[in-house]
Amino acid sequence: MKLKQLEGLLGELQQFSNPKELEQYPTGPHIASRMLFTAENSFEDVSNKVVADFGCGCGTLGAAAALLGAEHVMGIDIDSQSLELASLNAEDLELDINFIQSDIKNLGWRGQIVDTVVMNPPFGTRKKGADMDFLCVALKVASQAVYSLHKTSTRDHIKRVALRDLNASSAEVLCELRFDVPQLYKFHKKKEVDIAVDLWRFVPKGNQGKGTEHHLKSGTS
């Protein structure tokens, strides 16, 4: 599938109209398509893999993964309305996506059976540290790679923490993107703001290997 085609399909998805206090900024088709396209074409982290979309919102990243040939896609979000929307979106594109309603920090996983985690986590603007919570769990659950978006202004901090505390063997910024944040919340002063975000690829340390029954309790470090 070509990038333009992927972007076009994702552009048909419905996005949030009524976000709650969770920093629910939809990942637009422009960023989502590039993120997953890179993950697949440069690293082969998508097709035939088990992919989890953490904080899936209306399901854009998970949908992109499925469209690029992921064999089993899970979308996890805490908010029922988002999941309802995500389900409709998956249906529209005739995709089979496994949604789970959960707080990312509290979901229990049997082991590192997920190959790749993709996510556009909360920026950690309203609830401090939310972005790091997501990253912490992602690096415990993924066995191959974690793709994530974080504000460019936090770049050094993220790299340091990921390598030192969160079990990452590598942390690379693949590219810098501009993220449109429309005036969705009352605390937003401007009509629309452009935020510089980094697309990261993290590799978790010490793959547990095959067939391990290592019981993981997800939680922050």
Partner: protein
């Protein structure tokens, strides 16, 4: 919710020593056909907790899987077809996942399990 998902999730309630696997309370099962992908099945096989998978499949109305399986079976098309069906094509549409230690029910509606924990369970 596919059985592959069930095979990955574990109860994270505070105090639970071994939250895997969830028992399944079945109210409605839906079958959704998925293209057969032998490469994927061979890759995922060593990561599947087999007993939990067979038990879950049986609960969902599919008793065809062998009680035990080793990698030599991966050469058998018959086995792969059953594996494929149980792992990827059976969906728990309505019902619940039940924590094996506390009995706490996590409802499944429209195929989506609600795994949100109460404050005292975290």
């Amino acid at each position: 919710m596919r059985l592959l998902t069930h095979n990955m999730l574990s109860s994270n309630i505070k105090g639970v020593a071994n939250g895997f696997p969830f028992r399944i309370d079945v109210e409605k099962v839906v079958e959704k056909k998925v293209d057969f992908n032998a490469g994927f099945l061979r890759n995922i096989f060593p990561k599947v907790e087999w007993k939990a998978f067979v038990d879950a499949a049986r609960t969902m109305g599919y008793p065809e899987l062998p009680e035990e399986a080793d990698s030599s079976l991966l050469d058998s098309d018959e086995f792969l077809t059953k594996f494929h069906h149980g792992l990827l094509e059976l969906h728990l549409e309505e019902g619940a996942l039940i924590c094996p230690e506390t009995g706490r029910r996590f409802p499944v509606n429209k195929g989506i399990p609600n795994m949100l924990l109460h404050e005292d369970e975290v």
